[in-house]
C-alpha cells in the first residue's frame, strides 16, 4: 500500500491538497446574498416581487412629490397653484417660528448660545472619549439650569423674555429637559420608597406611582391648568408653563420610578446585606453600593423613557402652550398658508423623528456597550 503511495507518478491518490476552488457563483457575493435573502423559496420570491412592486408604486411618486415637483420659495399659498408636488413655501418663511416661537428676533442668539452650551455640556456625559464626565454631569444638573435660565429668561442686564413668548422647538426642548432633570431624582426617591421596609412610606409611594401611571397625560395636564390654580393661595398665580411642568414632572417621575425599580429588583439581596455588614447606613449604602449598580442596569430603560417623555411633550399644545406641534398646527390656520397641512405636519414630524431616533440609536449603542456580560 505505502509502496504505491510513495511511488513517484504512480500513486492513485494525491499526496497534497487540491487547491481551494471558489464556491459556486450562486452562493457568494451579491447573487448569493440575493438568493439567500430574497429568493430562497417560491413564496419568498413572490413576497419580494410584491414588495418591490409596492415600493415602486409608493416611493417614486413620493420622491417626486417631496423633492422634484415641489416648491421651496414663495410668498403665500397662492404660489402653490399649479404645483403638483409639495409646497414647502411656509417652512422657510416660518422657520424662525418653528424653532423659536415668538422669542424676539434680536434676542434669538441667546437661544442658540444656550443650545450650543447644552450640547458642549452633554458631550462628555454621553461619550467616554471626552474627558471630565463627572464634572460635566454635575454641572449639567446643578450649574447649567441656572445658566440656561439666565440666558433664556434674562437677568443681569439681559432683556427679560417672559415664558409666554417662548415657543417652537425651543419650548419643546426646554420643557423636555427640565422634566427629565427633575423626574429622574424624584423617580429614584419614589422607587426607593416603593422598595422601602416602612409600610406607610411604601403604601404612599405605590399609590402615588399607580395613580399617575393609570391616568392619561392629558388629564394630568388639564388638572395642572384648571385645578392647580385652585390649590395655590390667593395672589400666587403660577406661570402657565410652570404649572404644566409640575403636572408633567409628577407624571414623568412615576414612569421613571418604575424603570428604576426594575434595576433595584435586579440586584441580588447580598449587595444590600454586604453594605449593611460594612456598617453603612441606608443612604450611604444606596449612594455607594445599590444605586450605582441599579442605575447602570436601567440606563437604556431610562433613555427609552426620555424618548417617550420627549414625544409626550407634544401634548402641551392641547392646553395652549406654543410648542413645536402647536406652531405647526397654527401655521396652517393662517389664511396665507391654508391647505398646507401635509407640509407643515411632515416638517414637524421630521424634527421630532430626528431627536427621537437619535436618542433610540444612542440607547441601543449604550445597551451594547454596557452589556459586559457579568449580569446576575
Amino acid at each position: 500500500m505505502s509502496d504505491i503511495a510513495n511511488h513517484p507518478g504512480g500513486s492513485f491518490y494525491r499526496t497534497e491538497n487540491i487547491p481551494q476552488s471558489p464556491p459556486p457563483v450562486s452562493t457568494v457575493g451579491v447573487l448569493g446574498w440575493m438568493r439567500q435573502n430574497l429568493f430562497s423559496s417560491p413564496f419568498n420570491t413572490a413576497l419580494t416581487l410584491l414588495t418591490l412592486y409596492l415600493l415602486y408604486l409608493v416611493v417614486p411618486p413620493l420622491f417626486q412629490w417631496a423633492f422634484i415637483d415641489s416648491l421651496l420659495e414663495g410668498e403665500s399659498n397662492k404660489d402653490c397653484r399649479g404645483i403638483a408636488g409639495a409646497c414647502w413655501v411656509l417652512v422657510p418663511k416660518r422657520f424662525g417660528q418653528y424653532i423659536y416661537g415668538f422669542y424676539p428676533e434680536p434676542e434669538r442668539w441667546r437661544v442658540n448660545l444656550t443650545f450650543i452650551l447644552f450640547c458642549l455640556n452633554l458631550l462628555p456625559v454621553l461619550s467616554d472619549r471626552v474627558p471630565g464626565r463627572t464634572f460635566a454631569a454635575l454641572f449639567l444638573v446643578f450649574g447649567f439650569p441656572v445658566v440656561a435660565f439666565v440666558l433664556l429668561h434674562g437677568a443681569f442686564g439681559l432683556e427679560v423674555v417672559p415664558t409666554h413668548k417662548w415657543g417652537g422647538l425651543t419650548l419643546t426642548l426646554v420643557f423636555a429637559s427640565v422634566a427629565i432633570l427633575f423626574s429622574l431624582p424624584i423617580g429614584i426617591l419614589l422607587a426607593l420608597g416603593r422598595r422601602s421596609e416602612m409600610p406607610v412610606i411604601r403604601t404612599i409611594c405605590i399609590a402615588f406611582i399607580e395613580l399617575w401611571r393609570a391616568v392619561p397625560l392629558i388629564t394630568v395636564l388639564f388638572m395642572a391648568s384648571f385645578v392647580l390654580p385652585l390649590f395655590t393661595p390667593e395672589g400666587v398665580n403660577a406661570n402657565e408653563l410652570l404649572r404644566a411642568l409640575i403636572g408633567f414632572i409628577m407624571f414623568a417621575s412615576a414612569y421613571m420610578a418604575e424603570v428604576v425599580r426594575g434595576g433595584l429588583q435586579a440586584l441580588p439581596k447580598g449587595q444590600t446585606e454586604a453594605a449593611q455588614a460594612l456598617g453603612l447606613n441606608y443612604w450611604k449604602s444606596m449612594q455607594l453600593i445599590i444605586l450605582p449598580q441599579a442605575l447602570k442596569i436601567v440606563i437604556p430603560g431610562i433613555v427609552n423613557t426620555f424618548i417617550a417623555l420627549f414625544k409626550d411633550t407634544a401634548l402641551v399644545s392641547i392646553i395652549g402652550l406654543f410648542d413645536l406641534l402647536l406652531v405647526a398646527r397654527s401655521a396652517v390656520t393662517d389664511p396665507k398658508w391654508l391647505g398646507l397641512e401635509h407640509e407643515s405636519y411632515i416638517f414637524a414630524a421630521v424634527i421630532y423623528f430626528v431627536f427621537c431616533f437619535s436618542m433610540s440609536r444612542y440607547s441601543l449603542w449604550l445597551e451594547r456597550k454596557l452589556d459586559t456580560g457579568h449580569r446576575t
Binding site: 413576497l47 388629564t219 385652585l230
Partner: protein, 399 residues
C-alpha cells in the same frame, strides 16, 4: 463577661433609644404622614377660599343639570331638546371611549401580529421595510399622528357632493362614511337571540369535543361545525321570520345626504392614528415573544412527529403567548388612555365631551377631572386584576 456586657449594655442603652432603627422608622413615618396631612389641609384650605371667591359650588349636583350641547356620536339616546344632563354626557363619552378602544385594540392586534411576523421574515426586503415602518411610527408623537391623519389625510377626501360611491350604497367623503341604515322590523330580536344561542352552542360543543377527545382520542371538526352553526342558525331563524331587517339607503342631495347612517370622520381619524401607532409596539412585542421560544421546542415537536401547523398552534404559540400577553395587555391599556387624545381632533370621547365641554360649561373642574381620573384608574385596576389572574393561570401550566 459580666462587666463587658454591663459596659456594652450601658453604651447600648444610652444610644439605642435614638439609634434604634425601628423607632427611627416609626418616627420618620409619623413625621412624613403629618407633613402630608399638613400639605393636604393647606391645599384644601386654599381651594375652599378660591372656590368661594369664584362662586363655584362643590358637589356632584351638576350631573343632573341639562347639558346644552350636541354630541355627534352617541350610542345611547341623547338630545339637547330632551334635556339630557351632564350625567348623560358622562355615559355617552364613556361608551365612545370604550367603542374606540375596542375597535382600536382589535385592529392594532391584527395589524401588529402581521407586522411582527413579517419583521421576523427571512426575506430581507420585507423585514427591513417593516423595520422602517416601525421606527418611523414609533418616533413621531402620537398627537402629531392624530393631526396628520385627521387634517392631512381624511379631510382631504372629496367633499360630500363629490363623495366616492362604492356600489352606490356606501359613500366615502371628507365628513365621514355614509352607509345604509339598518331598520329592524318586528321579529328582529329573535335573530339577535339566535346569535347568542349559536354562541352558547359552540361553547358547549367545544367542551364536549374536548371531553370526547380526552376519553376516546377521536377528534371532532370543531372549527367547521362551529362556523356552520354560527352562520346557519341565525340565517335559518331570519328566513323563518321573513328577514326582519330592511336597509334605508342614503340619497345624495345637492350638498348632503338624506337618509342612511353617517359615521363621523373623527372616528376614522382616531381609529387610524391609534391603530397605526399601537400596532408598531405590538409588532415589537410579538417579535420578542416568538424569539423567546427556543428553537429546540420546534425541533422536539418535529421529532415527535407533529406536523408544522399543529406545532405552531400547540407548541410555539402557547409558549410565545406567555411572553406576549403581559406587555400586550399593557399596550391595550395605553391605547385606551391614548384615545383621550381624540380631544385634539374632536372625537367625542369621555375626556373630550366631559372633561372638555362639560368642564367649560359647568366650571366644576375638580369634580370632573377627578371623575375622569377615576374612570381611567378603574380601567387600569381591571387590567391589572386580569393580568394577575392570567399570570397565575399560565404559571400553573409551567413545569
Amino acid at each position: 463577661m459580666a462587666a463587658d456586657s454591663q459596659a456594652g449594655g450601658r453604651r447600648q442603652g444610652a444610644a439605642s433609644w435614638w439609634y434604634d432603627p425601628k423607632i427611627r422608622a416609626i418616627a420618620f413615618q409619623v413625621a412624613f404622614v403629618l407633613a402630608l396631612i399638613g400639605l393636604g389641609v393647606y391645599l384644601v384650605h386654599n381651594t375652599l377660599i378660591n372656590l368661594e371667591k369664584r362662586n363655584i359650588k362643590t358637589g356632584f349636583d351638576f350631573l343632573f343639570n341639562p347639558a346644552g350641547f350636541e354630541i355627534p356620536l352617541t350610542l345611547i339616546p341623547y338630545s339637547v331638546e330632551a334635556g339630557s344632563t351632564h350625567g348623560a354626557v358622562f355615559i355617552v363619552g364613556l361608551l365612545n371611549t370604550l367603542l374606540i378602544s375596542a375597535m382600536g385594540i382589535v385592529l392594532a392586534t391584527i395589524l401588529g401580529f402581521i407586522l411582527g411576523v413579517l419583521r421576523l421574515s427571512n426575506n430581507w426586503l420585507v423585514s427591513r421595510l417593516v423595520g422602517v415602518y416601525i421606527e418611523a411610527v414609533r418616533n413621531v408623537p402620537l398627537l402629531l399622528q392624530f393631526l396628520f391623519w385627521h387634517f392631512a389625510v381624511f379631510q382631504s377626501l372629496p367633499l360630500v357632493r363629490r363623495a366616492i360611491p362604492i356600489f352606490d350604497t356606501v359613500y366615502i367623503h371628507n365628513r365621514g362614511l355614509t352607509i345604509p341604515k339598518p331598520i329592524p322590523q318586528p321579529g328582529f330580536m329573535l335573530v339577535v337571540a339566535s346569535v347568542f344561542i349559536a354562541v352558547a352552542t359552540i361553547i358547549y360543543l367545544k367542551k364536549w369535543a374536548r371531553r370526547r377527545q380526552d376519553a376516546t382520542g377521536e377528534q371532532f371538526p370543531v372549527f367547521w361545525v362551529s362556523l356552520g352553526v354560527l352562520i346557519g342558525v341565525p340565517l335559518l331563524v331570519s328566513a323563518a321570520a321573513g328577514f326582519p331587517l330592511t336597509w334605508e339607503y342614503a340619497e345624495l342631495g345637492r350638498f348632503r345626504f338624506t337618509g342612511g347612517l353617517e359615521i363621523q370622520i373623527e372616528l376614522f381619524s382616531t381609529l387610524a392614528a391609534l391603530t397605526v401607532y399601537t400596532s408598531s409596539f405590538v409588532a415589537e412585542i410579538v417579535r420578542a415573544g416568538i424569539l423567546a421560544v427556543s428553537k429546540g421546542q420546534q425541533e422536539a415537536s418535529y421529532s415527535l412527529g407533529v406536523r408544522p401547523a399543529p406545532t405552531l398552534r400547540l407548541v410555539i404559540i402557547p409558549q410565545a403567548l406567555r411572553v406576549i400577553v403581559p406587555p400586550l395587555v399593557s399596550q391595550y391599556l395605553n391605547l385606551t388612555k391614548n384615545s383621550s387624545l381624540g380631544i385634539a381632533i374632536g372625537y367625542p370621547d369621555l375626556f373630550n365631551v366631559f372633561g372638555g365641554i362639560s368642564l367649560n360649561q359647568s366650571g366644576q373642574a375638580i369634580e370632573i377631572v377627578a371623575m375622569c381620573m377615576v374612570v381611567y384608574l378603574t380601567f387600569s385596576l381591571l387590567i391589572s386584576l386580569y393580568m394577575n389572574w392570567y399570570n397565575r393561570r399560565i404559571s400553573l401550566v409551567e413545569r
